[in-house]
Amino acid sequence: MSLPTASPHTRSRLAPKKTTALPKLDVARVREDFPILKQTVHGNPLVYLDNAATTQKPQAVLDVLTRYYTTMNANVHRGVHQLSERATQEYEGARAKVQGFINAAEAREIIFVRGVTEAINLVAQTYGRKNFQPGDEIIISAMEHHSNIVPWQILCEENGAKLRIIPINDEGELLLDEYERLLNPRTKLVSVVHVSNSLGTVNPVKRIIELAHSRNVPVLLDGAQSAPHMPVNVQELDCDFYTFSGHKIFGPTGIGVLYGKAKLLEAMPPYQGGGDMISSVTFEKTTYNVLPYKFEAGTPDIAGAIGLGAALDYLRSLGWDAVMSHEHELLEYATAAVSEIPGLRLIGTAKEKASVLSFVLEGVHPHDLGTVLDREGIAIRTGHHCTQPLMDRFGVPATARASFAFYNTKEEIDVLVRGLHKVQEVFA
């Protein structure tokens, strides 16, 4: 099987390097695993192209959630009865699955949180609060999601540190030489998105980390859009923190992961206080628990963690090569198809992209575009995608965004294109 030739606009970073025949994803069979995809919307089959916002869940994950609540629901870590033991085993088993998924050195480096937003707030309020002095600098980029901007702004207001922004070019790529120029003795942390949710840009994070580490600056990676679409190896990347959200990787809402190097996590003060994160409590003095529990106060989202583990198992069963080559095909096909539409401008045309397509259509506000597409059964996202500064950079109030997952098809892209023609008819 030969890969489709790259369109002039972009090449998918996800194209696997092998030249031998690639495993082909049996998309029709895979779709059978996702019952929600059979729905109709306004009388039309659902065409779900809003995966960057949240993903659908395979039956295997739904079954695990039901099975948890019907056969093993109990509070973890505290009981000596059998249900509690089972729940704890499954919960810690999920932690081990996450460790394996990103190749962390130890399970205690995996902290369960609510999602990337909470993870970044955790690092800002613990690592940040402890280590940043007035005048220190935190480097983020112009394409960040609000969750990787606002926690740092809050921190900077508290302790007088400053935010520095890596600029991007018109294609939506980080300017690495500008980034290098920003690194200076006052830089205390670099926090960047791995894959942009608005642009699809895959950032050169390995290089970013190398440059930061050469100056002893740690790096946090927002992996919300990378974990679901490519294998992530934190040993190879050598990132100091990595975060991702369960609901974006075909798992339940309410669960997410913060990975941190043990050395860093150990030195960080606790985030939330309460049960489980303590070792002993008296009114005079309280001592804290070891990792990872130091950062897991209160009863966790036990079902969520177990569901996330099942989602990772499911992804693994499909195989990254098959998933990535299919997403690569979808991105190429969609990019070529929408580029034919007159008056359509792509926002985000980096050379290395994941399967996200943001665009604006002349004379039609994204909001109106989205409403017309919705009537055709098509779910895309319209708005600022929680990246208002990025929208300002491109001089648009909002974009329309179609984002693909491995269960999307070329036929669905055809429906999108027909829908866009309909939009133009309505607003002609």
Partner: protein, 147 residues
């Protein structure tokens, strides 16, 4: 199931393409900003009162077809109205769109927005300019938000 044609009627599309009173007013007028953070619709309403009559009203901003058309038709409907009439118009428009009532006797051309009720997510687009106008009427200065 609602037809898109009920939402994007010709009159609405016309006002979106060629919004009326789409300008700033000069001095001696109130102006208030309105913003829908969910979709990025921004509107600034300028208001000039003479006694208790709306002498002039205009708007600027970027937004979707619904919010632009609503602002445009609003400015046409409000010019020359007394404060009391303007308030009544606001209430009837707002109640119609939020499903509180079906009354349209004061609305005239604005009745075309009745179709927005079938698209609940878009109701805020239509009412944003009106909430912004109301804030200007009451002499408020803070940015009006739909949230």
């Amino acid at each position: 199931m609602s037809d898109l044609r009920e939402l994007y009627q010709q009159v609405i599309l016309d006002h979106q393409r060629k919004p009326r009173n789409f300008r700033k007013l000069e001095e001696n007028c109130r102006h208030v900003e309105g913003f829908n953070p969910l979709c990025g619709d921004k509107v600034t309403v300028y208001l000039k009162l003479e006694g208790d009559v709306v002498k002039d009203v205009s708007f600027q901003g970027t937004g979707c077809a619904i919010s632009t058309a609503s602002a445009s038709m609003m400015t046409e409907a409000l010019k020359g109205k007394t404060l009391a009439e303007a308030e009544k118009l606001f209430t009837e428009f707002h109640d119609l769109l939020t499903g509180k009532s079906d009354r349209t006797d004061q609305l005239g051309k604005l009745t075309v927005f009745a179709g927005v009720r079938e698209f609940p997510v878009r109701v805020k687009c239509a009412t944003l300019p009106w909430h912004t106008f109301q804030a200007a009427l009451h002499g408020e200065e803070k940015t009006v938000s739909t949230e």
